[in-house]
């Protein structure tokens, strides 16, 4: 990975002086080499003025956002909670359309998606902004800031798809921050990607209203949802969000038939109670079925939650046991490289199907979507 240097910056038409970027931009130089029409944006006035697609106009130039359940009522000159949508004289704009601040080529396992084209790469991108504020956020330096505070590139959907093709990534992953807040950009990119054989996956907290979600799913191929806890109290106090809309989102994903995996970040003392995990697994079983993969991942102190220790591995193992006992078929442990809980096991014959360590695949015995040993169909997207 290389940083963009001054020469490249000037060569490709950068607009101004040094920026106030909070986040690094490790991929910048390569992007410019591969996609010469992309260029760095340095001024706040370079933000997008693409009209938002889900909002209604109220009286006196106030608008109500209809994208996420927060339903922000935003007065003229103000922004929604996400910080990337602004009301200008009664018209609502997304400021981050075609303005990514983070780009990388990642293993799909990093998302994590374990039952979606294992061993392939995902061209991964994000803009600034998020519609919740989780105290444990790992990427807060891009998710909890405004787009003026990140170094952004101008990269319209066609350029983004083109980059995925050039990097031979079969998938674009909308990830790192919260893709719902750059909905229009994601939607247009995903739609265009399909015309060029590039798939799209959304890595999200799932805090979105049903209508925009259903509209978007026509152009997505998989979704990973962070189910951050199974209590409203946690969502309110730790994430500044709500649980119920996330459960509604998961039910919608199931109904619409899109491949979905769930991540549950286990935070010591806050959401690691066995009963809570048991209740959540029961809900998943009843509403989504036994085949949705659930990843229990390890928390590390970060952002506003630096006072707690990393999750003990035995707590993750307890969560995994609880889920398996409840009847879920594919339960994983994340952020513990080399742990046996990273592997996929056949729910029928019990043999290891996909052996992993970290984000690497060591062996894969899923053949044509079936267990090589017993022939059981393994749910997922394998080709």
């Amino acid at each position: 990975m290389s940083r963009i240097d001054r020469r490249e910056f000037l060569r490709y038409g950068a607009l101004g002086a040094s920026s106030l970027a909070l986040s690094s931009f490790p991929f910048g130089g390569k992007i410019l080499n591969f996609c010469p029409r992309a260029y760095a944006l340095e001024l706040a006035s370079d933000l997008s003025t693409e009209e938002a697609r889900y909002y209604k106009k109220l009286k006196d130039w106030v608008v109500e956002c209809e994208l996420c359940p927060r339903s922000c009522k935003v007065a003229d000159r103000e922004r929604g909670y996400c910080g990337v949508r602004e009301n200008r004289e009664g018209k609502y704009f997304t400021l981050v359309y075609s303005r990514p601040c983070s780009l990388n080529v990642d293993p799909i396992e990093k998302k994590p998606l374990f039952h979606f084209l294992p061993g392939t790469t995902a061209f991964s991108m994000a803009t600034a902004g998020c519609n919740v504020n989780c105290k444990f956020c790992q990427n807060w330096d891009i998710s909890q800031v405004r787009p003026e505070q990140t170094r952004n590139y101008f990269l319209p959907p066609e350029e983004l798809v083109d980059l995925a093709v050039r990097y031979k990534a079969p998938t674009i992953a909308y990830t790192y921050s919260e893709p719902i807040i750059f909905y229009e950009y994601m939607y247009d990119t995903a739609k265009l990607g399909h015309t060029k054989g590039i798939r799209s996956v959304m890595i999200s907290g799932g805090y979105i209203k049903e209508k925009p979600l259903v509209d978007l799913l026509k152009h997505l191929d998989a979704v990973k949802i962070d189910l951050k806890a199974f209590t409203e109290k946690y969502y309110k106090e730790v994430c500044h969000g709500e649980l119920k809309p996330i459960l509604d989102c998961l039910v919608t994903l199931k109904r619409e038939g899109i491949w979905t995996e769930i991540v549950y970040l286990v935070v010591p003392t806050l959401n690691d109670d066995r009963r809570e995990i048991d209740d959540m697994c029961a809900w998943i079983l009843d509403n989504l079925g036994p085949d949705v993969p659930v990843h229990f991942t390890r928390f590390h102190p970060m952002y506003l939650l630096k006072n707690l220790p990393s999750t003990p591995v035995k707590t993750l193992e307890m969560a995994r046991r609880t889920a398996l006992k409840k009847g879920l078929n594919f339960v994983y442990i994340g952020n513990v490289p080399g742990h046996e809980g990273e592997n996929t096991y056949c729910p029928k014959c019990g043999k290891v199907l996909i052996k992993r360590t970290g984000f690497s695949i060591l062996s894969n015995d899923v053949v044509s979507g079936k267990c090589k040993h017993c022939g059981k169909m393994i749910p997922g997207v394998w080709s």
Partner: protein
């Protein structure tokens, strides 16, 4: 200890084209400072608040454009006053969140040596702190103007209605110092405004609030809506940011009543944060009218 809030109203502060008259603004500011501290000379009033060898940041509010932002006439009157005490011109920092907002309100960015500095947090080399500051429910990066560049601060907001906070006056103006104000508008910004103002770099550096009430937006804010904007012709001053907002709340409600509007409480927009700022946990100032000496000065 009782808090004092001074309201100066000048009947002759606008010319017949609705523009502010700079000499009259200066006169009102001078009268207000003297009434605030009881001094015979406004320079003595300021001298009590600042060490002239330090730098002083004047936080403006320029969100709503030229018609509803801290007036340059008031800002530069104060800047000249500070300079007359011995504060170097380049140590007077007139600032706002973005250069775009400053420009929309009639200010030009200026970093010339020997002149008053006009800066924005998004100006080259300024930016936000590298570390997060946490206060109550707020966790934010702070403008480096507050954390490093300035030794003291004067808050120079305007008085306006706000569709979520209820009132945007002194304390709410420091939302412009943090990097993530959009996260803190729920529950009428309570307790977030109080939490932001309890951040040490704000609480300890801010010595004075001078609220531009020459025009007051009593409804439809925070953007400029001429149909609900009154030429009030006033300046509100206090060393106590909570007391100033408490009086500002009364002024806003009086204007709303005069124009036949519901109270902010009836509209579900009571600025509860004022009372939170004055509570035992925050102790940022006096929120009770009984504890405030409200002094009105009329000029003509």
């Amino acid at each position: 200890m009782r808090s004092r809030v001074v309201l100066v109203r000048h009947k002759d502060i606008f010319d017949n084209r609705g523009r502010l008259k700079r000499p009259k603004v200066t006169e009102a500011l001078d009268a207000g400072l003297k009434a605030l501290t009881g001094d015979g000379d406004s320079r003595d009033s300021l001298r009590k608040l600042f060490d002239a060898s330090g730098s002083v940041a004047l936080k403006l509010n320029c969100l709503a454009g030229r018609m509803l932002s801290t007036a340059p006439e008031l800002t530069f009157s104060l800047a000249e006053g500070l300079h007359s005490l011995g504060v170097k011109k380049s140590d007077v920092i007139i600032w706002e969140r973005t250069g775009r907002e400053l420009a929309s309100a009639g200010y030009s960015l200026n970093t010339k040596e020997g002149d008053f500095r006009v800066l924005a947090t998004d100006s080259r080399g300024v930016g936000y702190s590298r570390s997060l500051f946490v206060s109550g429910k707020v966790g934010s990066l702070l403008s480096r103007i507050m954390t490093g560049i300035a030794d003291f601060a004067i808050n120079m907001p305007i008085l306006k209605d706000h569709n979520l906070a209820g009132l945007s006056g002194g304390m709410k103006n420091y939302y412009g110092a943090i990097h993530n104000p959009n996260k803190f508008h729920d529950n009428n910004c309570d307790p977030y405004v109080a939490d932001v103002n309890a951040l040490p770099d704000i609480k300890n550096k801010n010595r004075l609030t001078i609220c531009d009430c020459t025009r007051v937006q009593y409804h439809g804010g925070p953007g400029y809506k001429p149909q609900w904007c009154e030429k009030f012709g006033g300046i509100l001053l206090s060393k106590d940011p909570v007391a100033l907002d408490r009086i500002a709340y009364n002024i806003l409600e009086e204007l709303r009543e005069k124009h036949g509007l519901k109270t902010l409480k009836e509209e579900g927009r009571e600025p509860k944060y004022i009372f939170t700022a004055g509570d035992e946990e925050h102790k940022l100032g006096s929120c009770s009218i009984e504890d405030i000496d409200f002094v009105e000065v009329g000029l003509s």
